[in-house]
């Protein structure tokens, strides 16, 4: 009896999910009955882009206003902050030219917010039918990234002594980096701390792992690695030596598949240290990041 009751209640619940009750009066106005302003936003760890459009519907030959707001969320400057309206088949700036519209701010200072407006006119397009017009936005900017990774080198004697005492884990090895859509994680062929290795035929390996921590796409990433003072002969695949640094050969060589790119493999030897030496490797990058978003407006004839 209980199972029958349970089955009945389950049937009621299942059936009720499919119900489309036809109320004679629209109690709640639906979105397509109103001409509300539209708002979209895109953001990364660095920046917030916001676009408000004065109306979701516009008659042909009437203006439509766009309000743009860009906020630098970082405590440092961002460069070439640009908003591009790149696919807008129904809107024109003046005359009848359909094109892209771009606004670029060369420097957006730390925590600064910039606002501007753009007025476009809905184009009267044949045939005279109500159209759903997509408007696509591309938000781009350039920013810097930095990472400091401690490299701890121990002499063989020190390593053995600490290993016996169980104090290898007490060595402070830190890694600090910017909060950014570009992320780097450095790993080694052996766990830190490393022991002294001056043999160029039997090097340590370092792996530079790249991550896309945001929703956008990287257009270019220029990476430089400055080895720590206790690293010698640092060589990285697709990087070339430039003074005391290694610079990536091409800003487009880091290709992300989903949110990860192929790690860079580096080889190095260490300095000959007396007991223990902890020094920092630094990695800096400047990157161009692009976020996409779109809205759809209705153009009425």
């Amino acid at each position: 009896m209980k199972s029958l009751l349970l089955l009945t209640v389950f049937l009621i619940l299942l059936t009720s999910l499919c119900i489309n009750l036809q109320f004679p009066i629209n109690v709640f106005p639906s979105d397509n009955q109103t001409n509300n302003p539209l708002s979209i936003s895109s953001e990364s760890q660095d920046i917030l882009f916001k676009v408000d459009v004065s109306a979701s519907e516009v008659k042909a030959d009437r203006p439509l206003q766009f309000f743009f707001e860009t906020t630098n969320k970082q405590g440092y400057n961002l460069r070439n902050v640009a908003v591009e309206v790149y696919d807008n088949p129904c809107l024109v700036l003046s005359g009848s030219t359909i094109g892209t519209f771009t606004n670029t701010t060369p420097t957006l200072k730390a925590n600064q917010t910039k606002m501007w407006t753009l007025t476009l006119k809905a184009k009267s397009l044949e045939p005279k039918l109500q159209k759903n017009c997509p408007i696509k936005f591309k938000f781009s900017y350039e920013a810097d990234y930095s990472l400091f990774q401690d490299i701890a080198i121990l002499s063989e004697g020190e390593y053995t002594q600490r290993d016996s005492a169980g104090t290898l884990g007490d060595i402070p090895i830190s890694s600090t980096s910017s909060n950014s859509p570009f992320g780097v994680g450095i790993t080694f062929s052996e766990d830190q701390p490393l022991t002294v290795n001056t043999d160029s035929n039997n090097t340590y390996f370092m792996y530079v792992n790249y991550y896309n921590n945001g929703q956008g796409l990287f257009k270019s990433i220029d990476v430089s690695i400055t080895p720590s003072a206790n690293m010698n002969n640092l060589k990285c695949h697709l990087y070339s030596s430039s003074g005391n640094k290694l610079k990536i050969d091409s800003p487009s060589s880091i290709v992300f598949i989903r949110d990860k790119a192929t790690p860079t493999t580096c080889s190095f030897t260490t300095s000959d240290v007396a007991s223990m030496d902890v020094k920092s490797l630094s990695l800096t990058a400047n990157y161009k990041y692009v976020l996409d978003n779109s809205i759809t407006i209705v153009v009425k004839p």
């Binding site: 009896m1 029958l4 009751l5 009945t8 209640v9 049937l11 009621i12 059936t15 009720s16 499919c18 119900i19 489309n20 009750l21 036809q22 790149y86 696919d87 088949p89 359909i98 094109g99 892209t100 397009l125 044949e126 045939p127 005279k128 039918l129 109500q130 159209k131 759903n132 017009c133 997509p134 696509k136 591309k138 896309n212 796409l217 290709v255 992300f256 598949i257 989903r258 949110d259 004839p301």
Partner: protein
């Protein structure tokens, strides 16, 4: 306990009666075309352009032999934006009753006359008011009879449809695919008002890549109460506006037996059925296949449109009946 079970079952039956099958995600297959491969948002305006409404016979009920009676009716233009032109009227059946006057004048003339200047402004309503004489007692042989009053309103209209297509640059497509982002395209099909509807469907997935061939199909369907059997030569026009002169479409081709060679004129690729009349069988044409060669380059992602136009004449019939009692 039994009462609870019985009550629950009744509730299930009661609620299940409210389910609207059309709203169970099948809407794209409801339109008279093959089910779409791409997500298509269809916006379709109503099938009526001119409607005959509020037909009234005065006096109400029956009339006696030789009595006068009047038929009033309204003709409304349902189109909110366009003037409907070349509107004509004709009274083609009055039975044993005879037309005696009224407006619009001379409805029994052949060919049908223009109603005023023939134009109906957007949402305009015009009234007709015709008087008739019932037949004499001798004419009806002293028997009850019914006079049918049948008239038709003929108008010119152009069926319009527009579908948007997404174009994507190869590099951009690769970039989006690599990043794991969704590259599907949801297209909007806008079908204008009128009984003759033009539908589009695509032979491949959207967005279409630059420098590729995009196949699409066009089908004309008569969804009105009238009869539209053939599309005369040169009337159905399929157009692909370049929209950007720097990145034009490279070619447009439609089935050659009917359409001949398509041409580019004023930045618009155009094809019309210049070679043959297209028949409507069971109120619809066959699927007319066209191929659009996309621009050689695309600015990352672009939205373009394909349009179709079909000017036609259409009749709407109005009727009333008047009982004549001896």
């Amino acid at each position: 306990m039994k009462k609870i079970i019985l009550g629950s079952l009744i509730l299930v039956l009661f609620v299940s009666g409210c389910i609207d099958i059309n709203n169970l995600g099948l809407s794209n297959c409801d339109i008279p075309f093959i089910c779409q491969q791409n997500t298509v948002n269809v916006t379709k305006l109503g099938p009526d352009i001119l409607v005959i409404q509020n037909i009234n016979v005065i006096p109400k009920g029956s009339v006696r032999p030789k009595d006068e009676f009047s038929v009033y009716f309204q003709v409304k233009n349902q189109e909110e934006n366009d003037i409907v032109s070349n509107v004509r009227y004709s009274l083609f059946d009055t039975g044993l009753c005879s037309f005696s006057g009224g407006t619009p004048i001379n409805p029994k003339t052949i060919p049908p006359q223009l109603w005023d200047d023939g134009n109906f402004a957007p949402a305009e309503t015009k009234q007709g008011d015709w008087s008739f004489s019932a037949p004499s007692l001798e004419d009806i042989a002293n028997l009850r009879t019914v006079c049918p009053i049948k008239f038709k309103i003929t108008y010119n209209y152009t069926s319009r449809s527009q579908v948007d297509i997404g174009l994507i640059d190869d590099v951009r497509l690769k970039e989006l695919q690599r990043s794991g982002k969704d590259v599907s395209y949801s297209t909007n099909l806008n079908i204008g008002r009128g009984p003759i509807k033009i539908y589009f469907d695509f032979g491949g997935t959207l967005p279409a890549r630059n420098n590729s061939n995009l196949s699409f199909y066009v089908r004309v369907v008569d969804e009105g109460s009238g009869l539209y059997t053939t599309i005369p030569k040169g009337k159905l026009s399929i157009q692909a506006p370049n929209m950007n002169s720097a990145r034009p479409f490279q070619n447009l081709e439609c089935v050659s037996d009917y359409f001949g060679i398509c041409s580019q004129n004023g930045g618009v690729w155009m094809c019309s059925n210049s070679q043959k009349v297209i028949p409507l069988i069971s109120k619809k044409t066959f699927d007319i296949k066209c191929t659009l060669e996309t621009p050689s380059t695309v600015n990352e992602e672009e939205t373009r449109y394909i349009n179709a136009y079909l000017p036609y004449d259409y009749d709407v019939i109005g009727s009333a009946s008047v009982e004549v009692k001896p």
